[in-house]
Amino acid sequence: MPSLNDYLILSAVLFTIGTAGVFVRRNLITILLSIEIMLNAVNLSFVAFGRAFGTIEGQIIVFFVMTVAAAEAAVGLAIVIALFRHRESLNPDAFTALKW
């Protein structure tokens, strides 16, 4: 039976992987996937806390996060497709027009 600490370590590892993915990958779709990993790392820590303290709130909030994440993925993918049609590229460094 893994302890709360184990879950939290796993969560932190997943979060770090996600963060690293956001920063190092050059493909917008991969970056979106990395953000999903980060969100699920947080979800994992929520349910772990909920189980450890015997309360329901941890699991409720995870449902909210999942809903928002689904919406975010839909919007994000739509933007990515629109960008691709526009520039024929998925590299975020190609989209720097919004600057001084």
């Binding site: 963060t19 920063f23 975020p92 989209f95 600057k99 001084w100």
Partner: protein, 686 residues
């Protein structure tokens, strides 16, 4: 009766002509303006009749229109007040104003419709402001009128604004008046600081209650400053320079604004504050000396000028000097009397000169005139009577008022000023009859001095070509058309008979005008004390009561007064004789004299080089200071520097900060992460 209606009628006329005037035909626009003035005159007349029916000690109609300023324990209401002094003024303004409006309908008839309406809108606006000036019961209301007439004066001098000299003259009048107005404002502020009110009655009351020692400092300063304002508005030394140039305006404007009404505002203002000025003998002395000096000085210039309107302009300055002389020797009612008679004959003279100019198609140089006596009989006779009146020929209006001033000057012991006044009187008769003889007598001189014609720049040249030339250069000159003739004749009647309301005791009169003005010129409580016994008597004798008290002094002076009258009549006639001797009997004599005094003549022709001196001493240094220091250092360097510096430093900071916005999404994400780490780190390790 609503006093407010008196200035309101001309103001409505102004609104009509200023807004829809350009779409109205000339006859309608002129009718609106004239009707406004006549209505105003009717209301003024009924007000004055009502005023005359009131008992002497409470002879004033007051109407508070609204509370203008109310701050702490200071209030200034927009209050109109008709008392004997302002009653006389409103009659002069609306009466002579109506005549001049009627005259203008004909005189300005060759202007296009829109210009015609513009002219009448200005003229009505002027009348409205002038009435506010004289009806105002405190300094602030007076100041509204004071500035308003200055504005209208500017607008009307520069009426032919496409002409450089006219727009320059307008600016000159406005700027010179500004100097005077600055003094006026300071004077009002001084009085306000001293007495805490700007109401004429309250100030007079408070000032007359002061002990003689207490009146010296502040009060003298205040009255001096007010007099500075008067020198600007009424064209006295040193601020008279704008008035001769103001002749660039249309001639009826010169008659109304620059002869009969506006320029007398300074005299009126001193009369209005007679109580205050009486308490400050030093100021009065200055007023008298400046008045006499201006009268003399302007008279000498008037002797040699060749432009018909300029001669009249210098004559106006000179006559205003007489009024100030009267004010300065404490003969307030004499000064107001001269203001009143002068309004008639000077308006008449200007309108007469306008008729001449109109007939000659814009010619203003008297060297190119002559022989108009038979061609323009109405103009000639009215002009002649006006000249006789201003020269001081016995039994005409100018004689009584001028003589009153000279007598009061003499009897109050100002012998030197009296001598100056007499000399001026001689010159007045001479230059006026020089004008009459050169214009109307002798042979017609066609364009003798074409060069001079160009050099002067005349009011009519710029606009009147089509209409005036048509009948101007033919040999059959038209005399004044009906409306002009009507105004001329009405003013002639005034010039003859206006003096009889002030018939002096020495000639068997009772000087009704002086008695009438008495309540306005003395302190309120003094009046009531003086008249307390009189009110118990039956009404007819109330007016005679103060006169009876003075009668002892008058009897002693009557012999002297008669003698002086004889003397000044003699002076007037000899002045006319002198003009005849030089310009009719043998015109070569005047040339000979001009030759032998050519230096003096040049100085006089150039108006003592006062304009040039002002230019060198004031205008050029001011321009240089403005140009080199105020503009290039203070404005361009200092003020612009602060404004631009602020903008530039903000811009520089922004140029640094905008580097942060790279447009790279991952850079933003990195800063987000960094921020989150820092915030968490702070809470974890604090």
């Amino acid at each position: 009766m609503m006093l407010l209606l008196i200035p309101l009628f001309p103001f409505l006329g102004f609104l009509v002509n200023a807004s829809i005037g350009r779409r109205l035909s000339k006859s309608v626009a002129g009718l609106v303006a004239v009707a406004a003035m006549v209505a105003s005159f009717a209301v003024a007349l009924t007000s004055v009749i009502q005023l005359a029916g009131l008992p002497v000690e409470s002879r004033a109609i007051v109407q508070t229109v609204f509370t203008w300023i109310s701050s702490g324990n200071f209030t200034a209401d927009f209050t109109l007040r008709a008392d004997p002094l302002s009653a006389l003024m409103i009659l002069v303004i609306t009466g002579i104003g109506s005549l001049i409006h009627i005259y203008s309908t004909s005189y300005m008839h060759e202007e296009p419709d829109s210009e015609y309406a513009r002219y009448f809108s200005y003229l009505n606006l002027f009348a409205s402001f002038m009435l506010i000036l004289v009806l105002g019961s405190n300094f602030l209301v007076m100041f509204v009128g004071w500035e308003g007439v200055g504005l209208c004066s500017y607008l009307l001098i520069g009426f032919y604004y496409v002409k450089q000299s006219a727009s320059d003259a307008g600016k000159k009048a406005f700027i010179v008046n500004r100097v005077g107005d600055f003094g006026f404002v300071l004077g009002v502020l001084t009085l306000f600081v001293r007495f805490g009110t700007v109401d004429f009655q309250q100030i007079a009351h408070a000032a007359s209650a002061l002990s003689p020692e207490a009146t010296f400092g502040t009060l003298t300063m205040a009255t001096m400053l007010l007099f500075v304002g008067a020198t600007g508005k009424s064209a006295q030394i040193p601020l008279y320079v704008w008035l001769p140039d103001a002749m660039e305006g249309p001639t009826p404007v010169s008659a109304l604004i620059h002869a009969a009404t506006m320029v007398t505002a300074g005299v009126y203002m001193i009369g209005r504050n007679a109580v205050l000025f009486s308490l400050t003998p030093d100021t009065l002395m200055v007023v008298a000396v400046i008045g006499a000096a201006t009268a003399f000085f302007a008279g000498t210039i008037g002797l040699v000028q060749n432009d018909i309107k300029r001669v009249l302009a210098y004559s106006t300055v000179s006559q205003l000097g007489y009024m100030f002389l009267a004010m300065g020797v404490g003969a307030y009612s004499a000064g107001i009397f001269h203001l009143y008679t002068h309004a008639f004959f000077k308006a008449l003279l200007f309108l007469g000169s306008g008729a001449v100019i109109h007939a000659l198609g814009g010619e203003q140089d008297i060297r190119n005139m002559g022989g108009l006596k038979d061609k323009l009989p109405i103009t000639y006779i009215t002009f002649l009577i006006g000249s006789l009146a201003i020269a001081g020929v016995p039994l005409l209006s100018g004689f009584f008022s001028k003589d009153e001033i000279l007598f009061k000057t003499f009897s109050s012991g100002h012998t030197i000023l009296w001598v100056v006044g007499m000399l001026t009187s001689l010159m007045t008769a001479t230059y006026m009859f020089r004008l009459v003889f050169l214009t109307f007598w002798g042979e017609r001189r066609h364009a003798v001095v074409a060069a001079g014609h160009d050099a002067h720049g005349h009011g009519h040249d710029a606009h009147g070509h089509g209409g005036h030339d048509a009948h101007g250069h033919g040999d059959h000159l038209h005399d004044a058309p009906k409306p002009m003739a009507f105004a001329l004749i009405a003013l002639t009647v005034g010039s003859i008979f206006a003096g009889y309301i002030g018939l002096p005791h020495a000639l068997g009169g009772s000087n009704r005008l002086e008695n009438w003005l008495e309540p306005s010129l003395t302190a309120p409580h003094v009046v009531s004390a003086q008249l307390a016994p009189a009110t118990m008597e039956p009404t007819p004798s109330t007016e005679a009561a103060p006169a009876a008290q003075e009668s002892h002094a008058e009897e002693a002076g009557a012999g002297v007064e008669l003698g002086l009258m004889g003397l000044s009549s003699l002076v007037a006639l000899s002045g006319i004789g002198l003009a005849w001797f030089f310009f009719v009997a043998d015109p070569k004599r005047s040339d000979a004299v001009a030759e032998s005094f050519s230096g003096l003549r040049t100085v006089l022709l150039n108006k003592y080089y006062v304009d040039e001196a002002y230019n060198v001493v004031i205008v050029q240094p001011l321009k240089a200071t403005s140009d080199v220091f105020l503009w290039k250092v203070v404005d361009a360097g200092g003020i612009d520097g602060v404004v631009n510096g602020t903008a530039e430093s903000v811009g520089g900071l922004a140029a640094l900060l905008r580097r942060v916005q790279t447009g790279s999404v991952r850079a933003y994400a990195a800063s987000l992460l960094l921020g989150a780490v820092l915030v968490f780190g702070y809470y974890l390790w604090r």
